[in-house]
């Protein structure tokens, strides 16, 4: 079990408190199937000093981004345990949240979790190198709008709707403009088809936002009709720099077993290149 980041500093009257949905993400992202998947895409077995020039260069560090990190517990967990989960400590992490307080909370949660991971590594007698990645920033924004196309290697999205009737209090707006923005987004959170409006927009942005090796983890609940959502994703086209690849969407990890909640599940979305070359040669 990897330690859960400390979020005791987070002002919960202004920022979503971590709940079952967050913990399901932590469990799933650190489950054997997902660490194997992520390590196969991004891991590079760094355990020596600077590589010598005779070796092939390691894959460039993945950019991992959480949309709507809230307290920051999930992105902090991924960053602090980068070596274990992604197979490399060379990970760049960031967050985008509409809520300014969530941005501040996320940066602090990540900094604390990374410091703790480094302490643990240095206090253990083993020769294990610190396995924490590098946290860049959390910026205020709408989904992936501020991020350059094709940059995101791992995207995590826990949508702002919750499958209970209770909604967290909206943070206090600081200006009229922010108040307007929050009102706009408030209607999105509360209404819309199956509570899917925001998630639909995010999924539609994936072919442009993700890198060729990129993948996304999106949390859905039963009322989102996850089987239909997955079928839609598999039918997506576009993106990928013309490199082909089929869109895949599968429920992963320990999804769907949360007692007392409407069933939650995490869907992994990625491009699969297996068989693409064979298809193009007309086999």
């Amino acid at each position: 079990m990897l330690p859960t980041p400390d979020t005791s500093h987070v002002p919960y009257q202004r920022v979503y408190e971590p709940a079952e949905d967050s913990f399901l993400l932590l469990d799933t992202l650190s489950s054997p199937s997902e660490t194997a998947f992520l390590t196969s895409r991004f891991g590079n077995n760094i355990n020596t000093t600077i590589s010598t020039s005779s070796q092939p260069p390691p894959p460039p560090p993945p950019l991992i981004l959480e949309v709507g990190p809230g307290s920051g517990v999930v992105i902090a967990f991924l960053t602090a345990h980068a070596q274990t989960i992604l197979g490399t400590p060379h990970v760049l992490a960031c967050g985008v949240d509409v809520n300014r307080f969530a941005c501040a909370a996320t940066a602090k949660t990540a900094a604390r979790a990374i410091a703790e991971a480094k302490d643990d590594a240095s206090s253990s007698s083993s020769s294990s190198s610190p396995g924490a990645g590098f946290f860049l920033d959390a910026v205020q924004g709408d989904l992936v709008a501020p991020v350059r196309a094709g940059m995101i290697d791992v995207l995590v999205f826990n949508p702002p709707y919750v499958p209970t009737a209770e909604l967290p209090a909206q943070p206090q707006p600081e200006s009229e403009a922010e108040q307007q923005q929050q009102q706009q987004r408030g209607t999105v959170v509360r209404g819309g088809r199956d509570g899917m409006e925001t998630t639909d927009r995010l999924i539609a942005a994936l072919p442009t936002a993700l890198s060729e090796r990129g993948c996304a983890y999106v949390l859905l609940c039963a009322q989102n009709k996850p089987e239909e959502v997955k079928e839609q994703i598999r039918a997506m086209g576009g993106g990928g720099g013309g490199g082909g690849g089929r869109w895949k969407a599968e429920t992963v990890g320990t999804s769907g077993k949360q007692a007392g909640w409407e069933k939650l599940q995490i869907v992994r979305i990625w491009r699969d290149y297996d068989g693409v070359a064979a298809d193009t040669t007309g086999s």
Binding site: I46, T49, I50, S51, S53, P57, P58, P60, P61, L63, P89, H90, L92, C94, V96, V98, R100, C103, A104, A107, F134, L136, D137, A138, V139, Q140, G141, D142, A145, P146, V147, R148, A149, M151, A177, E178, Q180, Q181, Q184
Partner: protein, 127 residues
């Protein structure tokens, strides 16, 4: 906000996505602070291939740093040049824009940075 982060961001306005002028965003009235972070040479060496060097040169100059070379250093150059490693570490990882604005070169929109957090939310007429 770190200079390295700026290298991954662009204008949030949809019509600006296809314009070369929307990246990099241009810092304006930037107040900088410098974090004291342990240098990680391996991470720097690995990060460099995914940094847009032309954009970084622009940002670096606009923030008042000495001009960067036209070409990014090779792995061998970095490994043998302690000062270049230190300089890049300071620029990419340690330098933070705490207050100021980021201006889009295409539409002119200004994104505010306050207390180190950039705000990319758009007013409703630009959404």
């Amino acid at each position: 906000m770190k200079v390295l982060t700026l290298n991954f961001l662009t204008c949030a306005v949809k019509d600006c996505k296809s314009s070369n002028n929307s990246f990099p965003l241009h810092p304006k009235d930037a107040e900088l602070v410098y974090d004291d972070l342990e240098i990680n040479p391996q991470l720097l060496v690995n990060v460099l291939p995914r940094v847009d060097w032309v954009a970084l040169r622009t940002t670096s100059t606009e923030l008042g740093f000495p001009e960067l070379p036209e070409q990014p250093p090779t792995v061998e150059e970095l490994e043998s040049d302690e000062k270049m490693l230190q300089d890049l570490h300071k620029l990419l990882m340690e330098t933070q824009i705490m207050e100021g604005k980021l201006v889009c070169g295409n539409c002119g929109h200004e994104y505010a940075i306050r207390e180190g957090i950039a705000n990319f939310l758009l007013p409703s007429h630009l959404v």
